[in-house]
Symmetry: C2
DNA sequence: TATCTTTATGACTGATTAGTCATGCTAGTA
DNA sequence: TACTAGCATGACTAATCAGTCATAAAGATA
């Protein structure tokens, strides 16, 4: 992957988060990235494609990060907690990417193409969540609802964290939120 | 309030939800509303102001709807459940307004002005949530985190509901989600 | 009916923007 | 040094859009 492509991605993520899709022109992105206006269209056929790519790649990065070290966790609770902790860590370390995913998910830009391309983001979790329901570890709810709740709690936790200062404080909130989630979904 | 103003608000809500802020021109909104392009600017000084107004008025409507009949509920759990049920009902009945609030909250458009103007949306709940924490009914978490979690779970529940068919099914999910929320936050 | 006020219209404009393309640059090869 | 291939440039353009304004219609008042 080219150096300039990466610069454009970084710049676009930042500007879209700070000013929204509407108020971020391709010229501005190029300027922020330190490349010519034409260069952007060398790597991305259109602004919309750039936005979709940003989403797909951010989701992939997140997914990879969540899976790392997962197999070491033995119990279902530990597995889920591992994913929870890493999801929150990732969001704090990649604030622009996190906010972008959030913005994009809420917007109607999501094309069917991108929806499908990232359908596998939580695939890895589906198996053990299903297994846990069968084992009676967690309440009898549908998998999509389970993921939806995880996602909603994750998002609101991170949004809450961004209003706080202090690393220790944040760690405490992340643990607290997980306990709330776990109390809620476990049997 | 003028008739045309209302038509513009309805049209704008619909189009913004369907096409996003970027791909919805003021001309298109006027056309959908059945008024002249100039008329929009008679009621709203700018597109941005229109967007802000949409947010503020939707939030106010929601807030009013949530408070209705609240005083009849005796226990804290019943009060919160009342708010939860009405929040979900409102979202299903006002899908565009709900999606708009969601979109807008995720976007950076939120100006400080609108943030302040709607700060009172959940004011009414603050008192009895605080009281309940003191009474030991719910876990010792901060009020903002409590509201953040409520909001996150509400949003993800409604998003999940929109993928389903059948009123009875939906009602079941709403109850299920509330139980998860309540198990999570209560002591 | 005549006069005044308010509300509505839509053609128009200045500014902005996504995307193009002819040209330039750089690095690899011989 | 001469040639080539592909990356990079930024001035340019066709299209679009937010917002204006001169004009007109509709209501109100007397």
């Amino acid at each position: 992957m080219s150096d300039k492509r990466e610069l454009i991605i970084e710049a676009a993520l930042k500007l879209f988060c700070e000013n929204g899709f509407q108020n971020t022109s391709t010229a501005l992105i190029s300027k922020e990235a330190g490349v010519a206006t034409g260069t952007l269209f060398l790597y991305f056929p259109s602004k919309e494609e750039l936005i979709n790519t940003l989403y797909i790649e951010s989701k992939k990065e997140l997914s990879t990060y969540l899976k790392e070290g997962l197999s070491k966790q033995k119990s279902f609770k530990l597995k889920i907690k591992h994913v929870w902790m890493r999801a929150n860590e990732w969001a704090l370390e990649n604030q622009y990417a996190f906010r972008f995913i959030h913005m994009f998910s809420a917007s109607p830009y999501i094309s069917n193409v991108s929806r499908k391309k990232v359908a596998s983001t939580v695939d890895f979790a589906e198996k053990f969540v299903l297994a846990s329901i069968k084992e009676g570890v967690i309440a009898r709810i549908s998998i999509p609802l389970f993921f939806s709740i995880f996602d909603g709690l994750w998002t609101s936790t991170v949004n809450h964290l961004s209003t706080l200062r202090g690393t220790k404080n944040k760690q405490k909130i992340i643990e607290q939120s997980f306990e709330i989630f776990w109390k809620g979904v476990s049997k």
